[in-house]
């Protein structure tokens, strides 16, 4: 997919190493975390992205999809107790990549995945989405 991952928490790089060495390495098939684990000990980066919680001194589970121009395309922020859905993140990235490949000439309807119907905006599509796209596509895997 050609996506670079960056993770950010308020922990030190030393804590990142310990976490990777002692726990994450046992959980990932690569044997070690393959992306940069950034240290945001003063919460500076978290504040810039609006995810730093001043009360707990930690960053919420913020997720930002940034395109090759450096533009934010998607944001998701969760409080700490619930984890993310990686499949949904991958789906969104694929959809944004498809839009970019088409130069914006195609858009991805609800629930779009590779292989599903894309839409071509234009005068002839106005009022006619129902002819080319079924609501059931949004619910099907």
């Amino acid at each position: 997919m050609g996506v670079e991952v960056l993770s950010v928490s308020v922990d030190s790089v030393f804590a990142h190493k310990m976490w990777d060495d002692h726990e994450l390495s046992k959980m990932v098939t690569a044997g070690a975390i393959p992306y940069a684990m950034l240290s945001d000990q003063d919460g500076r980066i978290g504040r810039m992205y609006g995810v730093f919680d001043e009360r707990s001194g930690t960053n919420a589970r913020g997720r930002f999809i940034i395109d090759p121009d450096g533009t934010i395309q998607a944001i998701e922020v969760l409080t700490p107790a619930v984890g993310r859905n990686i499949h949904e993140t991958i789906r969104q990235i694929r959809a944004f990549q498809k839009v970019r490949e088409a130069g914006g000439a195609q858009v991805m309807p609800a629930g779009w995945k590779p292989g599903k119907t894309t839409l071509t905006p234009g005068p002839e599509l106005v009022g006619n989405v129902w002819r080319v796209w079924k609501v059931s596509e949004a619910f099907e895997d």
Binding site: P34, T58, R61, I66, P80, V82
Partner: protein
């Protein structure tokens, strides 16, 4: 302090760190509902952050990082021209 800890993956709220400690007001306990989920943020607690919006340039940053057994400096600008998934999380060794 331990009484303030909410089971889950949050850390205990930070107490006021400003010296002298005797004069410092006790840090406000993070509002947590009976179900363990954070409740609405008190207005005074949200003043310091501004959320970037979709369609805007991602704020640039440089920070120390751990990557492949090494300590390095990482900047978002190095990733210009690539898709980037930027993920924040509360802390190492949290459970979720």
């Amino acid at each position: 302090m331990l009484d303030d800890f909410v089971p889950g993956c949050q850390r205990p709220p930070m107490t006021a760190q400003k010296a002298p400690a005797i004069e410092a007001p006790v840090a406000e306990k993070a509002p947590v509902s009976s179900r363990g989920l954070p409740s609405a943020t008190a207005p005074e607690a949200i003043a310091t952050t501004r959320c970037p919006h979709v369609g805007e340039p991602a704020p640039q940053f440089t920070a120390s990082a751990y990557l492949g057994g090494k300590f390095v400096e990482a900047s978002l600008s190095e990733y210009m021209g690539k898709w980037v998934l930027l993920c924040f999380y509360p802390g190492d060794f949290t459970f979720v």
